[in-house]
Symmetry: C2
Subunit: 443 residues, 2 copies
């Protein structure tokens, strides 16, 4: 009977465990998690803070008991201190009893995730400054907001988490300021698309400041001000959402090869360079299928897919995860933003000759109520017209249209193959020419 040890009990780890069990009913599966909560929906945390999810329990997909019923043993609050690949064993510390012990594996899956990037700045440890990564963080933030009723809420970093937190903080009293170090918000989209969202957010009463470098945080008992290159911003609540770094130190010290951004390097089978050791989720690299380069794009949906493949292979199966194309989506109230593939900026960085199409259309037939604006940008390779990327910003119904372009990129389609595509049309869903088709015809 083979034994699979999984380090990490959230998206990738628990997907791996569940899949391994389905593949091999007889394998011995143990999950070690250094957290007290397992199998939770990390992506739902902003919505818990915003009271869209009423109870934290609703974010818990499955309990230790439910996994146990599947013959998956989950050990919470157990930190893996060391991997000894030569002897196929890991050294574990029980964080409650402080006891250390070894456990042996036949296959090991590292799903240690990532942690927020915390800038090394004066005052960064002041009370009132938070990151949002796990349930403990979200409980702390919510308790703080409810108790302190901050008048000045500052979000540092305007990526997906920062934007989702804008939406979820809007129902709290207090003025919101969004600070971004790049020249525009959502830095992984092009400037013209980001500008539309920026205007929308500003209309909600949020102050948006770009090109901001933070110099320090100041305050007596808790944070009171953010000192920036553009002046002082009042702040009695700060959320740092400036990205994450992979938890790869444990792997590195075991001799496992790291890749870009110090993430654990994996192949299509989610194998590391060491025999019998897999990695999955936010701790590891992923192949970008457009650039064909190694990338670090930690996202929940990718973590689940990688975990499933790692679990299947560790249990004796033969599965692959080909990679990602950088698809992402977010919503701030009624405004949806989405992207896939490469942006214009990314094409320039990768020195790819490209052409670009920008259009504005409506989410529905223009004569219907709630027919609102949608902006579509498509980037294609100049010579052969392969679709390289897409970006969408618009009102409800806009965002998920990005999936058509994600499919097109996955299948290496050209503009010409798609230009008269039979997309679904009825007045409540689209103008008679779908916005994606308008953008394709606009090249």
């Amino acid at each position: 009977m083979s034994k699979i040890i999984i380090i990490g009990g959230v998206a990738a780890g628990m997907s791996a465990a569940a899949k391994a069990r389905r593949i091999n009913p007889n394998s011995n599966i143990i999950v070690y998690s250094n957290e007290t909560y397992i199998s939770y929906a990390g992506c739902g945390l902003p919505y818990f803070i915003g009271n869209n999810v009423r109870q934290i329990d609703h974010l818990l997909a499955r309990t230790v008991e439910q996994f146990f019923a599947q013959n998956i043993l989950v050990k919470k609050a157990c930190q893996v201190l060391k991997i000894e690949p030569d002897q196929n064993k890991v050294l574990i510390k029980d964080l409650q009893t402080q006891q250390k012990f070894y456990d042996h594996y036949d296959k090991l899956i590292i799903a240690t995730g990532a942690r927020p990037l915390i800038p090394e700045l004066p005052g960064v440890n002041l009370p009132g400054i938070f990151v949002l990564r796990n349930i403990t963080d979200s409980l702390a933030i919510k308790a703080y907001l409810e108790k302190q009723k901050p008048a000045h809420l500052v979000i540092v970093g305007a990526g997906y988490i920062g934007l989702e937190m804008v939406e979820n903080l809007l129902d709290y009293p207090g003025k919101i300021t969004l600070l971004e170090k790049s020249s525009h918000i959502i830095p992984n989209m092009d400037n013209n698309m980001a500008a539309i969202l920026s205007n929308y957010i500003a209309k909600q009463g949020v102050e948006v400041k770009t090109d901001i470098n933070i110099i320090a945080f100041q305050g007596q008992d808790r944070v009171e001000q953010v000192i920036t290159n553009e002046g002082v911003v009042d702040a009695d609540f700060v959320l740092l959402s400036t990205g994450v770094v992979p938890n790869s130190e444990l792997a590195l010290s075991a001799g496992i090869e790291l890749g870009i951004r110090n993430a654990i390097r994996v192949n299509e089978k989610m194998e590391t360079n060491l025999k019998n050791i897999y990695a999955a989720g936010d701790c590891c690299t992923v192949k970008h299928l457009v650039t064909q380069q190694e990338a670090y794009i930690p996202l929940g949906t990718t973590a689940n897919k990688q975990g499933k493949v790692a679990g299947e292979n560790a249990a004796g199966g033969n599965s692959t995860f080909k990679g990602v194309i950088g698809t992402g989506i977010s919503r701030i109230l009624a405004m949806e933003i989405a992207r896939t593939g490469l942006t214009e900026k990314e094409c320039q960085t990768a020195d790819i000759d490209y052409i670009v199409s920008d259009i504005k259309s409506k989410t529905k037939a223009g004569y219907l109520p709630h027919a609102n604006d949608i902006y579509v940008r498509i980037v294609a390779e100049k010579k052969h017209h392969y679709i390289l990327g897409g970006q969408i910003i618009g009102y409800p119904g806009a965002g998920k249209r990005i999936d058509v372009l994600a499919a097109a990129i996955t299948l290496h389609a050209t503009i010409e193959q798609l230009i008269d595509m039979d997309l679904a049309y009825a007045p409540p869903f689209s103008p008679v020419w779908d916005p994606i088709l308008i953008a394709l015809n606009n090249f």
Copy 2:
């Protein structure tokens, strides 16, 4: 200076005119329409009846004056009686003055559309029995509903128009009965999917009856009863929505070849068998790209695409319209239905070996408010796993996901190529595994 005559002033005709003008600024373009309204959004008519579109004017895309400003001459209420292809001329009757006259063309585009199929049944001409095809129809229906306040509204035919009319009649007083001759509603979807919609419609208080053959309509001054094989249904309003037939008689009498269902046969360039004569829109055939067979699937979005290609080619360009894959979408209140490619039933008819995947999921992350049911069915070719078709039924956000499968079918994708596709995920848009991916993984 070449002269283009277009017969028909709605979707295909006016798309052709507009495109021809863009391609060739010098050509002489004349549109003859036998209607008094031109360039209207026929698909919006149910929503006008349902008061979702307040004024009929809102359905008029462009006026005669606006076309004139583009140097496109539109002659309303002018019926083309005859095409004389040997002499490149058409005989026209001005319906207001009753005058007849000839006009000469270099290129002719036939965009005569379709008309509702009216079953030859006793009493079918009784007042209170309507079809819905054009603005005149919609004004008559609305006036009747407002004046007569019918207590028993019967819709005959549960295709797209019938279903859209269910939604738009629900705000009127009176009980709605939906009669369908097939064994289930939306006959172009599979039974298990249709059943979900059927239950939903029934919950709105609509009586749904299938396997119904209508024998006669009865009444004194106006319709009072529908006599069926399953008994008598009270009815003081009847909408016949049992499909359309192409207006192809004019073409046939000129020696133009007809194809399936008596629609005008066209090739990829929208050429008929006669030199210099094109056809586009609901009067003509279309190639089904999955079966590779000629089909008759009249839809507004196809009409626009065909019209654009006919206009471009008539004006000296070189454009093609490859065909359709039978994509369609509709909504009844909060329930969205969509289909593309082939259904299971259609695979059986075409004698194709297939496999099928049925799943139920949620439109959003399950912990968010308004995370509601979505059902996805995918049909794939058994041997090589090519995606052949998809069907979706579900709550808001469900329907347009069909476009991912439309793109996949267009690009001849297999299950394996799509199974780990990077579709957009964030909690307000999808579970962490997109329902389409769940369905693909379920084969």
